[in-house]
Symmetry: C2
DNA sequence: CTGAAAGCGCTTACAG
DNA sequence: CTGAAAGCGCTTACAG
């Protein structure tokens, strides 16, 4: 069954059928519309999307790019990406578009991939500054980045990482903690981490404190590395009373590592995470975390993308979604003695 | 840049370029191949996938269908689906195919969707018996189901649900539990749940026990409902000492509900989950669970699908992946007094 | 409001 | 080994 068949059955031309399907109702009479629709329904006809895409140069496909670590990795390692992905799927589906997803180490390799499919737009998660130029230079469709810091004119949806770091440290300080540790990627990483570190430092500085070099624990933000980090922290300087972790998943690992080392959270040491995932409630004690509004991030990403697609012009914008402390029970109050 | 441009630059016909791109090396001389490839590389040419798909009637797209609950739901609610999805993405990507995903309430609505894109194959998660007929009746490409019970001749990858139920109950019995509860979807659901229930009952029967009606707690398998269920269980018959939950996420909720009610797991009550997700290690105590090998399920699904695609014929098969108890600390040993 | 013609960028037989 | 021709199933101006 194709357009021509339907046209023949309806006694009209393919053009007319095409106009009916595409809702160009100003070009077709009411009766013709009804007649054609009836035949379409009777025969369960669905237009061929590849032919449509080829002819119209639109695909209704949105390409979504997720970062991955190695060939054997999969994105489920990161509940954060998973959640965003699910939210985007929902949004894209409700727009009547299709979602094509791809994990990749370098966004460069993804460009030919999506060019090949004439995607109407792309959403790229966690790209770094260097990749951005390569991407926007060679892609003509609208792109929205999530969590990317770049000088270039791009549409980006991020969070207030500085404030996140600041709030985490302030929260711990307000609970009487003075010797605060850091756990996460190398503290000299630019962008996301750099800004959080700055926030932490500024909060500490207000109390004439600073991040002690001995209390900086660097590791990738996943569960397994978290366990190792937890063990290290357990045997580190005795004065440490709290740790700021750069992700919830890392924090889960840290809590486990501390537990395995015989320490109790929060009695012996407090932990605060970052992201505020639903999984924070799976742990005992529940993880206190700097919570970001993922629904809002996904919503904004979708809205900007479709606005660009509909208006056919790019938007340069940097939307910063607010963060807040979501309290669990993993931070204890130290009484000033 | 299109085929024709490349052909012109290389001084050959489009057919020849096409043959080079598609690796029909027996049809082109070595020198021509090199010449054409050089030009392709120089100009960063990528073939237009929609045109290819239209002409060849192959798309290299695999459609993946996930079940969802309501319009506002997203699949991240279920770490189980998320994990499978991530594993499938990895497999599909490594085959050089594209993955298009879709959440849906009824698989019926997904048929026109994927027909429209000429997908080369589909993987459908958690379809129920009634949907199967509708799907296989109206789709011509290879389909692999995951976790589906059906009489029809289909390719399905499942787990040994009966054994899972049996092992869970046996495990609890071996620890001295006699009053065992059930938590999960309605126990008269056919398929997955029905078989697990049967396994539980058979294990209990071996000890002249049975599932007590008072100890059956029905709810959808998600965290929030789990909390409510945990509270109910806490105030249920005093004799209950252990609960078998039909999913890990539900079990997490139950543990939380019990905790909120002042009960301690496993001291006051033991809990065993189902799935064996990595998240089992996030809880304190770690959740003991009937663990299924998700990597293997995804691998088998991928292998069967691509075998069907390559051999161009359907396979009827029901692969049952083994399950085993993955021990955490959420089940206590009751001393016979 | 309706349709004939051209074209989107490929691949598929087929002929040489 | 190479290429001319036809066709995949649509949409896009354009003419009426």
């Amino acid at each position: 069954m194709n357009l021509k068949d339907i046209a023949k059955l309806a006694g009209v031309s393919s053009v007319t059928v095409s106009n009916v399907i595409n809702g160009n109702h100003n070009k077709v009479s009411k009766e013709t519309i009804d007649k054609v629709n009836k035949i379409i329904k009777e025969h369960n006809y669905v237009p061929n999307a590849t032919a449509r895409s080829l002819a119209s140069k639109k695909s209704r496909i949105i390409g979504v790019v997720l970062p991955y670590v190695g060939m054997d990795e999969d994105f489920s390692r990161s509940p954060y990406y998973t959640r965003i992905l699910a939210l985007l799927e929902n949004y894209i589906r409700q727009q009547g578009y299709y979602m094509m997803i791809r994990c990749t180490g370098g966004c460069g390799e993804v460009i030919p991939l999506f060019n090949t499919w004439n995607v109407d737009g792309m959403i790229i998660l966690g790209a770094d500054k260097r990749e951005v130029k390569e991407i926007i230079g060679s892609i003509r469709v609208p792109v929205v980045f999530i969590d990317t810091y770049a000088e270039s004119k791009i549409a980006n949806i991020g969070i207030d990482d500085y404030k996140g770091g600041y709030l985490a440290a302030r929260y711990l300080l307000s609970k009487g903690h003075k010797h605060i540790g850091y756990a996460g990627p190398g503290i000299d990483s630019p962008g996301v981490i750099g800004n959080r570190i700055k926030g932490i430092n500024d909060a500490l500085a207000e109390k004439d404190l600073h991040l002690d070099k001995d209390l900086i624990f660097e590791a990738p933000t996943n569960y397994e590395d978290g366990i190792e980090l937890g063990k290290k922290i357990a045997f580190a300087s005795k004065k440490i009373t709290a740790v700021v972790s750069m992700s919830d998943v890392l924090a889960f690992g840290i809590m486990e590592g501390l537990h395995l080392s015989g320490l109790v959270v929060p009695d012996d040491i407090s932990v605060i995470g970052f992201d505020g995932l639903p999984e924070c409630r799976y742990t005992t004690p529940h993880l206190t975390s700097v919570s970001q509004n993922l629904s809002r991030k996904a919503l904004l990403a979708g809205e900007y993308l479709f606005k660009m697609i509909k208006d056919k012009k790019k938007i340069a914008v940097n939307e910063i979604v607010d963060v807040e402390i979501s309290e669990g029970e993993s931070v204890r109050t130290i009484r000033p003695n």
